[in-house]
């Protein structure tokens, strides 16, 4: 390709103040060899149509803001080069399975409520909490146990990829369950028992049917499918022990 080419973006748009159903709008956007899809959206916003709305922040696939459906697949728009999408046209839609606020902006509230529900935060031991200035030491092997899961940037691509979340919105979902596993696997954490109710629930690990698309679309290389299905084993083990020894727990 040469600099000065243009590509057509078809964007699914919706505005809450307009009664109309969502509509497709096309834009011809010039691009260079190093232009990203996010830059194309910014070009539209700056030069072609200031009403187009989308979220973005870091431009380098670390803030997790700019997720959208690109040709039917959840992607970070800053993570795609337009030259790889040429000759187009490129179909852009808001992330699947979420309520739309406007254009490509979705409502994250459901996920934000699920994060605390799975205990996605570190619960330090009492002595560590009593001495907050003392470092909590960890070996490289202990860190390797959770490091992969800790790379999650909450971009919600995995929720859009997950057919189970689309069918059952109360499913806690890939990212929340991977973050549950992340904290359970952390040697500094003592909150595992408080997370079990969420893990063992119908809407916890057991709604997952191991489709695995969450892992495929993750821009950070997190493997939520593995996290969830390892926790199925743990949940099943506890189920059997609780059945055999009533009063063991709760």
């Amino acid at each position: 390709m040469t600099d000065g080419d243009a590509i057509r973006l078809d964007v699914l748009r919706w505005h809450p103040d307009r009664p109309a159903a969502p509509w497709w709008q096309s834009y011809e956007v010039p691009y260079r060899a190093d232009s990203t899809l996010l830059e194309a959206l910014q070009t539209i916003k700056d030069a072609l149509d200031g009403t187009l709305t989308f979220r973005w922040s870091c431009r380098m696939a670390i803030c997790g803001s700019c997720g959208c459906m690109v040709n039917g697949r959840p992607e970070l728009s800053c993570h795609l080069l337009l030259r790889d999408l040429a000759p187009g046209p490129v179909r852009l839609e808001p992330l699947a399975h979420f309520p739309v606020i406007r254009d490509l902006v979705i409502d994250q509230q459901d996920f934000l409520e699920k994060l605390p529900a799975v205990g996605a935060y570190l619960v330090p031991a009492a002595d560590a909490e009593a001495a907050p200035d003392t470092p909590s030491r960890q070996t490289p092997a202990q860190m390797a146990e959770y490091y992969q899961y800790a790379q999650c940037i909450n971009c919600l691509l995995c929720y859009s990829a997950c057919p189970q979340y689309g069918l059952k919105p109360d499913f806690l979902g890939p990212a929340a369950l991977a973050l549950m596993a992340r904290h359970d696997a952390d040697s500094r954490d003592t909150g595992g028992s408080a997370r079990k109710a969420a893990r063992d629930a119908e809407s916890g690990v057991w709604d997952c049917t191991l489709v695995g698309h969450c892992t495929e679309v993750c821009p950070q290389g997190v493997d939520p499918a593995r996290a969830i299905n390892r926790n199925k084993t743990a949940s099943a083990r506890d189920y059997v022990f609780d059945l055999l020894m009533p009063g063991r727990r709760r």
């Binding site: 699920k114 069918l167 119908e202």
Partner: protein, 124 residues
């Protein structure tokens, strides 16, 4: 907002499904190869085949062999029931409790039948 969680009984069915998957992956191919290829392709006289009724009955003379056979059949049924139920869900067919009962009920019926054969099969 806090989310209320209800404990799932899925582990029970998932463990049976997993055990059935193991049988389907390891035992079933061996059975298929033996009964479908080795036995018919092995040269034998007309009255002494590898799968003669009397010979197979001798194989199942011990209660352990009968129980293992019934166990394999039952686990395969539970595996199939769980697979069908979740396949329906994935295909957008949400049968609710009725579908659940019919899937797992069928597996339970097959298990009972297989268990009954252990007892009712004649001794050689």
């Amino acid at each position: 907002m806090s989310i209320r969680f209800r404990r799932s009984h899925e582990p029970l069915f998932w463990l049976l499904f997993g055990a059935g998957g193991l049988v389907a992956a390891l035992v079933l191919p061996a059975v298929v190869v033996f009964t479908g290829l080795i036995a018919p392709l092995t040269p034998h006289s007309a009255d002494a085949g590898l799968l003669d009724y009397a010979r197979v009955l001798t194989l199942f003379a011990s209660p352990g062999a009968r129980a293992a056979c019934a166990g394999f059949i039952a686990l395969l049924a539970w595996h199939a029931a769980h697979r069908i139920l979740h396949l329906c869900h994935d295909l957008g067919v949400h049968g609710g409790a009725g579908l659940k009962w019919s899937c797992y009920g069928s597996a339970a019926a097959v298990s009972l039948l297989a268990g009954g054969l252990v007892v009712l099969l004649p001794s050689p």
